[in-house]
């Protein structure tokens, strides 16, 4: 069980832009290798890491592409060094093969997606080939990003598996007063698998490969069936052990529950608070771990509702997980849609409190709620 510690930090707060705050959180978490290729809105994280890592003895590489960036990160991670890479969705697309193979090689790594919308949900939660899976954390603001960055490294080490941090343009470029200090999430197993330079013939050599952690005789090679079966057991154990993270609000007597994640989740949360003050019986569920998805929490929150509304800044992807959780018990309606300015870097002109409130109120009416004196 993972306990969140947001708000418990006691140091001096500083006004930091999200990108810099995430970079600093990586450094205090002990990250000593970072590689990436510049791409808005990820670029400032790379720039910050280039500034912050050398003074603490770390290395930051501006790679020639995202393929090379994650390739370099493979090498660093296999030595047991806390390692991270990242990009935006397009760059993450290039990293999907590695992301899946990292699961098979059992290498921990934090992979940051500073996404340009929420249309990378499928990529984040279902990406990669084969049977690979990874935890995906989605902060709603800079303060959470600072915490989840550190939690991401912890979970990666705990389960020897990559963790994806799903950010966006707002988190990258919003300044917020935050306390960045080392957070402890509990004990971790020793990295006795890490390569230490011992070579074959010394009796101390170790093998890290997506094909296996031992070789049979040279003329036989790896036993993939044995290895993949063991990885499958470990990844399934991760899913059982990790309790999905979620925030819920006003759900106890809610007639309609709105589901949203990330920065739009922060907008929806605010809209729901205002609508409650205006007498609308609405609640919210904000998935924080997108994978594993907080299915049970969503089931609990929607047991007695008239309907569920889903907001995403894309054509609708998470809504599939919401539908799977609700299993047809109540109607699930999509109230989102892709909104972005002409740069397409991630600013959503429709991401405005009055617009979202109106969509939520309309969804409540369609679900059959009696809204009485509500102004809209």
């Amino acid at each position: 069980m993972t306990e969140l510690t947001a708000g418990l930090a006691t140091g001096t707060p500083r006004l930091m832009e999200g990108s810099e705050a995430i970079a600093e959180a990586m450094v205090v978490a002990g990250c000593r290798f970072f590689a990436g290729y510049p791409m808005t809105p990820f670029t400032e994280i790379l720039e910050s890491m280039a500034e912050k890592l050398p003074p603490v003895g770390g290395v930051c590489m501006n790679a020639e592409s995202e393929l090379e960036a994650i390739g370099m990160a493979w090498g660093a991670a296999s030595t047991g060094t806390r390692t991270a890479t990242g990009s935006t969705g397009q760059g993450l697309a290039l990293m999907q093969e590695s992301l899946a193979e990292l699961s098979l090689a059992r290498l921990p790594m934090l992979v940051i997606n500073m996404a340009r919308s929420q249309g990378d949900y499928f990529q984040a939660t279902r990406g990669g080939h084969g049977d690979s899976r990874r935890i995906v954390l989605a902060p709603m603001d800079v303060a959470e990003a600072v915490e989840f960055t550190q939690l991401g490294f912890h979970l990666a080490d705990l389960y020897r598996n990559p963790v994806v941090l799903y950010g966006d343009y707002y988190i990258a470029h919003t300044y917020q007063s935050v306390i960045v200090e080392r957070l402890e999430f509990g004990p971790l197993p020793a990295k006795d698998w890490a390569l230490d330079g011992s070579t074959g013939g010394t009796g101390a050599a170790k093998l890290i490969s997506p094909l296996g952690d031992y070789k049979q005789r040279d003329d036989v090679g790896y036993d993939l069936a044995d290895y993949y079966a063991r990885v499958e057991v470990d990844l399934s154990a991760m899913e059982t052990d990790f309790a999905p993270l979620v925030e819920t609000g006003f759900v106890d007597d809610a007639e309609v529950v709105v589901v949203a994640f990330g920065t739009p989740g922060k907008f929806v949360r605010y809209c729901v608070q205002e609508l409650r003050a205006e007498g609308v019986k609405v609640g919210f569920v904000r998935p924080i771990s997108l994978y594993p998805f907080p299915t049970e929490a969503l089931q609990d929150a929607t047991r007695a509702v008239r309907g569920v509304a889903v907001y995403e800044n894309c054509a609708g992807q998470m809504i599939d997980d919401v539908r799977l959780a609700v299993l047809g018990r109540v109607p699930v309606e999509f109230i989102g849609g892709l909104t972005m300015d002409s740069s397409a870097f991630g600013i959503g002109p429709d991401l405005q409190v009055p617009i979202l409130k109106q969509r939520i109120v309309d969804a409540c009416r369609r679900a059959g709620c009696d809204l009485g004196e509500v102004p809209q």
Binding site: L15, Y175, S177, Y270, Q352
Partner: protein
């Protein structure tokens, strides 16, 4: 309690710097701060605005504001975008040195010739900093000590030589703001200081 502000003007007036000063100053006053700046590609003359939220506790407000408690209007060019976000509970400080038409809004309007005062007492380039000083004093939003500390942090290293000038601008604006508080009914930002 959250207090939301939007400052607007044209690129080059110092809107983004002033927002940095206010957000950083609030932290020195023991509050939490959030700032989201939005500006076009042009350094000078393009649209620029900054949304700032200051609070006693964790900030619930999303980064993009659709209405604000206080508006700072430095230039008429991009004023309509700010006016949309004001209502009858808002107060807007209008830089009457530049914005010469009457501002049509339900919000309470505080007329203040920030640019003229800056030219007279400090320097033209400090007009927005004069305005920030005035807003801070008239609403008790930020203490003078915190403003100076916020300025020290907000100025980039290659602009350090302008620290004294901007400190003076904040002080001149602060004194003017105390006078404004005598001539207008301006709500106090916080229940206690």
């Amino acid at each position: 309690m959250e207090r939301s502000l939007i400052a607007t003007g044209i690129g080059g007036q110092g809107i983004q710097l002033s927002a940095q000063v206010m957000a950083r100053a609030a932290i020195h006053d023991g509050r939490k701060a959030m700032l989201f700046g939005s500006y076009g590609g042009m350094m000078r003359g393009g649209s620029t605005d900054a949304s700032v939220v200051l609070a006693d506790g964790p900030i619930d407000s999303p980064p993009v504001l659709s209405r604000c408690w206080l508006g700072i209007a430095m230039h008429h060019q991009y004023l309509p975008g700010l006016l949309e976000k004001l209502d009858d509970r808002s107060t807007v400080f209008v830089n009457t040195s530049v914005i010469q038409d009457k501002v049509d809004t339900a919000a309470s309007v505080v007329d203040f010739g920030a640019t003229e005062l800056a030219v007279e007492a400090v320097s033209l380039v400090c007009a927005t900093m004069v305005m920030v000083g005035a807003v801070a004093a008239a609403t008790s939003l930020l203490s003078p000590e915190a403003l100076e500390a916020g300025l020290a942090e907000a100025l980039p290293p290659y602009r350090r030589e302008h620290f004294d000038l901007n400190t003076q601008a904040l002080a001149v604006g602060y004194d003017a703001g105390l006078e404004l508080a005598g001539s207008y009914t301006i709500p106090a930002a916080w229940a206690t200081r």
